[in-house]
């Protein structure tokens, strides 16, 4: 429960004065996601900057310091039967709120309940000039000024140090049930998308190893009735399955430890070419995981053809690019935006893209 923002601000100012690069670390649980960089980068740790600042269950709004571990938020919210609706992955117990926003990571419920980016209402941020700024707020609707809060999602700390985050939280669904169906990948893709187009309380849709998993969440009567219409086999210990999917603890993620993990974010209906490795489908088709050795350029071609993008999420060659290649005009724009926040290039240089 400490506020070390003044200290963080001093560290940034000192780094700016000496033109030293900083590596922002929340809990470090997602360090594998970034590129490997050469040379020294001093660590700027948010781990001590933690604690819930305010929580109004009736307003559905929570504000916490960026270094607050997700587990702490879970506990506070559970007391009021509420939740972080974007189901952020807890890769380790150390996963923090700031790191979750910086990486824009959301779990299986994301297509229905929104992503971390969707639920963010406001942030405080230290920019590369060492200024501690506040954007957005603690209310649901706010269109004054540019949306700097949501811009941070996916920036991986390259635009500043997030010190505080305000979020919309949601009530926990009163009932939930998971249905399982034997199915090929192709059948599952059309089934998931068809089900997602029905006005039913679907809240997750995943395929792996010849089985389609559909999760229903909501009012008890609605869940039971829908389960009745859709059939399938009811999965026992379903919460555990979705938690393991969320935190990448299913065998798909943990076996064959050395094989690279690729993430495709694409048109949910796209059929991808057969490759040598294995696939896991989440988000009703909009997020696909692939385990296998592959060439970034080739994977990017496949993702582009499917209307989306790819990243090398874990493992593989992390000295090259790990994010989908961007056209030159977009690269220039992103460099300009980086310049607008961090003119000296202090924050996480080279961790997102080699060129930034």
């Amino acid at each position: 429960m400490t506020d070390i923002s003044l200290q963080l601000q001093e560290q940034v100012k000192a780094a700016a004065a000496d033109k030293r690069a900083l590596h922002i670390v929340g809990g470090g649980s997602k360090a594998f996601m970034s590129r490997e960089v050469e040379g020294e980068q001093q660590t700027l740790s948010l781990a001590e900057h933690k604690g819930v600042i305010s929580y109004h269950p009736v307003e559905l709004v929570l504000t916490a310091r960026a270094g607050t571990p997700l587990s702490e938020l879970d506990a506070v919210l559970a007391e009021h039967n509420q939740m972080l609706s974007f189901e952020p992955p807890r890769f380790t117990d150390a996963s923090t709120l700031g790191g979750t926003l910086a990486c824009n990571l959301s779990g299986p419920g994301r297509p229905w309940w929104g992503s971390v980016r969707d639920q963010v209402l406001g942030v405080r941020l230290i920019n590369g000039l060492g200024e501690h700024l506040r954007f957005g707020g603690q209310v649901m609707k706010n269109v004054a000024g540019y949306d700097v809060s949501r811009l941070q999602a996916g920036a991986m700390g390259t635009l500043g140090v997030i010190t505080e985050v305000s979020l919309k939280v949601l009530p926990r669904p009163s009932d939930t049930r998971t249905l399982v169906f034997e199915s090929s990948l192709d059948e599952a893709l059309s089934m998931m998308n068809q089900r997602a187009a029905e006005p039913k309380p679907l809240s997750a849709a995943c395929w792996q190893d010849g089985r389609l998993y559909l999760r229903l969440s909501g009012a008890h009567a609605a869940v039971s009735a829908t389960a009745g219409y859709w059939g399938g086999e009811v999965l026992n210990e379903a919460d555990r399955f979705w938690q393991q999917l969320r935190d990448q603890q299913l065998a798909f993620f943990t076996e064959e430890g050395a094989r690279p993990l690729w993430r495709f974010s694409i048109n949910p209906t796209a059929h991808l070419p057969a490759l040598d490795g294995r696939w896991l489908v989440d988000w009703a088709g909009a997020q696909r995981w692939y385990r296998g050795e592959a060439d970034m350029a080739e994977m990017a071609r496949i993702a582009s053809a499917a209307g989306g993008q790819v990243s090398l999420f874990r493992g593989g060659d992390r000295s090259g690019e790990v994010m989908h290649a961007q056209p030159e005009a977009l690269r220039q724009l992103q460099r300009n935006i980086k310049q607008a926040f961090d003119p000296e290039g202090l924050f996480n240089p080279g961790r997102l893209y080699s060129w930034m």
């Binding site: 009736v58 992503s115 980016r117 209310v139 811009l151 390259t158 949601l170 009012a219």
Partner: protein, 500 residues
């Protein structure tokens, strides 16, 4: 001095029109005052300005060419959708070109399986839902202006609607945009997936009020149309109890499709206009719509009715047919024109507050209303705390508009003081630029200016909107300190319309 400033007033209107007519249908390059006149303002007609030219390109290439020419010459460009905006965001620049996107009115693709639509920016919001209806799908955000406003304008303002508590604002329902930069360069931002690599530029563009680029294509999500929707109407004898009831519904774990509140002035006006059957003696009225599967709606409607009764509602009524539901909503939906009938003019404000502050804010507002002698009616997106005070005034009474604006400004400042913001969905534009320094300090405003410069270093896209210059801030601050309360309107805006 920027290129734009250097060239200001030096561009020959007819010469420029001739250049545009070389590649745009000459009928769509407007240079005569009579035809230009309808473009002088948006939905907030107290601010107007005649543009130098209006162009209505029909292809992206033409729009690109317009931008290239304007960029080379330092000419301001103001993008325009349907002109329903309520912050003078689309008000023209006197030495600039209005780039109307009205001809970009085609729905390019509806993909029912992927639940997405690809549309041009000039497509009307409601037209998308109408086209998607055959597939049992619709587009979520539903501003009250949805018959007229365009999706391009919605992206630029991050528009919301009655249903955004449950289904989100524009930013939550967008997948990608095609954008022209101020130089006329074409960019594609976002994807057919749910996110993209790197910082979220799509979110940055949403709500950027036409200051960062011109949207030429939009891909949006479509949602399955709920099986059923029912609305519960409840009257209360105090605003406080009604406000508590809103909190109690949320605490119950129910997220209604829509949750609206009206105060007694708005109830009376709406009932007189729409005859919806509202309890005219109530101090506050709640409309709570629950949607979903039949089973879910049944379960939740019962819970909501019970809750309202338990919390002391003076009347509770639930719709039992689509017709009845439409009638109950009719009053709320026509609240603006209804208020228009009880007063020669009204001015619609748009602040957001934490819901718990509602009773306090309304009480304070009543005090201000009394002090300045102007009536105010309130309609409120209660679920998400977005307040629309409608100030009643008469523009023909000298000084009354200025008094109204000063009152409005104080309401917005009150919203900030209780932890809210100066605009929930209408945008800053020209109108609320004076209140920006109340919500943001100079370092924050400078950060906004640096973001703008990352896209548009010369500042020719929609200049003078959204973010005040630091010089303006200093002027506002010193002015605001020197003037007595309620007389804050000496600072006449250049764009003030004269209604003679």
């Amino acid at each position: 001095m920027s290129q734009a400033e250097a060239n200001r007033g030096q561009v020959d209107r007819e010469a420029l029109a001739r250049r545009f007519r070389a590649f745009i249908d000459p009928a769509y390059v407007i240079s005569d005052d009579e035809t230009l006149k309808p473009y002088e303002c948006d939905g907030l007609s107290v601010y107007c300005e005649m543009p130098m030219l209006v162009v209505l390109p029909e292809t992206v290439e033409q729009a690109q060419q317009v931008l290239r020419i304007c960029h080379a010459e330092g000419i301001p460009v103001v993008a325009r959708g349907a002109g329903t905006g309520l912050c003078a965001g689309a008000m023209p620049h006197p030495e600039g070109v209005v780039l109307s996107m009205a001809k970009f009115n085609r729905i390019l693709e509806i993909d029912p399986l992927a639940r997405a639509a690809r549309v041009q920016p000039g497509v009307r919001n409601l037209a998308i839902s109408e086209a998607a209806a055959v597939h049992g799908l619709y587009y979520g955000p539903d501003p009250s202006s949805q018959i007229a406003c365009t999706i391009g304008g919605n992206v630029a303002e991050n528009s919301g609607g009655v249903h955004c508590l449950k289904y989100g604002l524009t930013v939550h329902n967008l997948l990608s945009v095609e954008l022209l930069t101020v130089e006329g360069e074409r960019l594609s931002i976002g994807s057919e997936g749910l996110d993209s690599c790197g910082a979220d530029l799509l979110a940055l563009l949403t709500g950027s009020e036409g200051l960062l680029g011109v949207v030429t294509e939009v891909r949006i999500k479509l949602l399955p149309k709920p099986e059923v929707a029912q609305v519960v109407m409840a009257g209360f004898d105090s605003v406080q109890t009604a406000g508590d009831a809103v909190g109690a519904i949320i605490a119950e774990g129910i997220i209604p499709g829509g949750l609206e509140m009206m105060d007694s002035h708005a109830i009376v006006a709406a009932e007189a206009f729409a005859k919806a059957g509202y309890p005219v003696d109530a101090q506050a009225l709640l409309l709570c719509e629950v949607d979903g599967t039949e089973e879910e709606v049944q379960e939740h409607i019962e819970a909501v009715e019970n809750l309202f009764r338990r919390l002391g509602a003076t009347s509770v009524r639930t719709s039992h047919s689509e017709e009845e539901r439409a009638r109950l909503w009719q009053g709320r939906k026509s609240a603006f024109p209804a208020v228009g009938r009880i007063s020669p003019d009204y001015y619609c404000m748009d602040g957001t507050i934490p819901r718990s502050q509602l009773a306090h804010v309304l009480t304070e507002m009543d005090k201000m209303s009394e002090a300045c002698g102007l009536r105010v009616a309130n309609v409120f997106h209660a679920g998400d705390g977005n307040l629309h005070p409608l100030i009643l005034f008469d523009a023909n009474v000298p000084g009354e508009l200025e008094k109204t604006e000063a009152f409005g400004a104080r309401i917005l400042e009150l919203c900030v003081d209780v932890g809210g913001c100066i605009t929930g969905e209408h945008g800053v534009g020209v109108e609320k630029i004076r209140q920006m320094p109340k919500q943001f300090n100079e370092q924050e405003l400078s950060q906004f200016h640096r973001i703008k410069a990352a896209f548009d270093p010369a500042g020719t896209l929609n200049p003078g909107k959204g973010v005040p210059t630091l010089r303006q801030c200093q002027e506002y601050r010193s002015l605001d300190m020197n003037i007595e309360p309620n007389a804050g309107a000496q600072a006449q805006h250049e764009g003030r319309c004269r209604h003679d």
